[in-house]
Symmetry: C2
Subunit: 264 residues, 2 copies
């Protein structure tokens, strides 16, 4: 156990595999000790303007807040697994999660990564269609799925915002199909770095330094490659001074040449 800033207690699960032993219960901690999560306060929420919550008026936000519980998770923790009964939906307030599907023989496909402002649980199925695990410490705003659905049916702007989020995700998914289906290894990695950088830039502001909280294996499983190919590709770019290795990520030295790798 270690103490992180602001007196928030993070409980390490010691799940180093990141794959295997993720069936343990999610760790819930924070200012409130209760595993139920503590009351959310939308007024001070940093992602409120990016998230689906932005659809709610000042008057209505209280109704949303009443349904919300704030949850803090340690790094390398399972939020839920594919097939679990989908009790909750979430808005990410801080940190990064990995969303993935697994095949029976161990192969896995990382569907995407969720960052602050993202909504998790758009699918209307009774069970989750993918697994979600934290990569870093993560803060989430949690809602009971049925309550949230009911609210979205009585507050149309929220439903519209959810629909916007869903179609946006759909476009991103189709982009990724092109990457997986028709791009070569080098192009895949370049496309990933540039898009990831853009996504982070929309939250933190644009920067040449790109944090990569996911492992090389996660990147490989996202891009349909092996860890060796990802590693070799990035090593080559480092030798060529296109990117620079920095702790916890990379720095883009030559945006031009990186972008030039991508036809179109």
């Amino acid at each position: 156990m270690r103490i992180a800033g602001k007196g928030i207690i993070l409980v390490s699960l010691n799940d180093k595999s990141g794959l295997g032993d993720a069936s343990v219960n999610s760790v819930v901690a924070g200012l409130c000790a209760s595993p139920e999560g503590c009351r959310s306060v939308c007024a001070t929420c940093r992602v409120r303007l990016y998230a689906v919550c932005s659809a709610m008026s000042e008057d209505d936000i209280a109704d949303l807040e009443r349904l919300a519980a704030h949850v803090e998770l340690s790094p390398r923790t399972a939020l839920f697994q594919a097939g679990d009964l989908a009790r909750f939906v979430y808005t990410v307030t801080s940190g990064t999660l990995r969303l993935q599907r697994d095949l029976a023989d161990g192969r896995r496909q990382v569907i995407g990564f969720a960052i602050p402002g993202d909504f998790i649980g758009l699918s209307l199925d009774e069970t989750y269609q993918f697994s979600a695990d934290t990569l870093t410490a993560v803060g989430l705003c949690r809602f009971d799925r049925k309550d949230f659905t009911s609210l979205s049916h009585s507050r149309q702007p929220l439903l519209e915002r959810l629909h916007l989020a869903a179609t946006h995700e759909l476009t991103i998914a189709q982009d990724h199909m092109v990457i997986l289906g028709r791009r070569r290894a080098e192009e895949r990695v370049a496309a990933f770095l540039l898009r990831w950088r853009d996504r982070l830039g929309r939250i933190n502001g644009r920067s040449a330094t790109v944090g990569l909280p996911m492992s090389r294996q996660d990147m490989a499983d996202h891009l349909g490659l092996t860890i060796e190919t990802v590693s070799r590709t990035m090593a080559r770019w480092m030798r060529d001074r296109i990117i620079l290795d920095v702790p916890g990520g990379i720095r883009v030295l030559d945006q031009q040449r990186l972008a030039a790798i991508l036809p179109d």
Copy 2:
């Protein structure tokens, strides 16, 4: 020009490439000669119960019908291209379309195929994010996008149904990411045949005979393979009596062995 059943006139565009010269205007024909499309009649619509229109009550359907125009397209016709201003959204009433994205150097990724009951244009962007071309003769119910959006904002069940369609598409897209990212050639083709069969079965009723209106090239571009790999894979299955070649498609002889190719 040739005559198809029920006196509907189909105009052949003679666009044999299926790729190149698709910038011609969409051919609009049918019982009404007007290129504007003729008035739609929901009462006799065969896909009404499957399509997003099913969200409309008997009373409200008239409002939807007022916005709708029915359009008939010849095979191998461009409905719209990626980047075009998204003036319309569509419900497919008959036939099959191919949805695809193209890279600058000619590589393409077939995002999916649209069949009766499918909604085209879920994205809320001002421009289309992919191209849509007919494979067969196609019937569509066409709506002005802005009018349709307005209506969905005043008829909540329609919006809910659209959202349902979007999240369903999203799940399918994620399924396809697994295929493209982590499955071998043989698995990809098997998964495609089995899923395509299921989709058709939901409309026509289950059958061992599976129509394949798309070319081998289309299948390859959907599965991230080459035409040769698709051809060789299916040829092997034909030798092994797993499938049988029938005009315009295949017949599944051994569902067991085909399904066994897929772990999970």
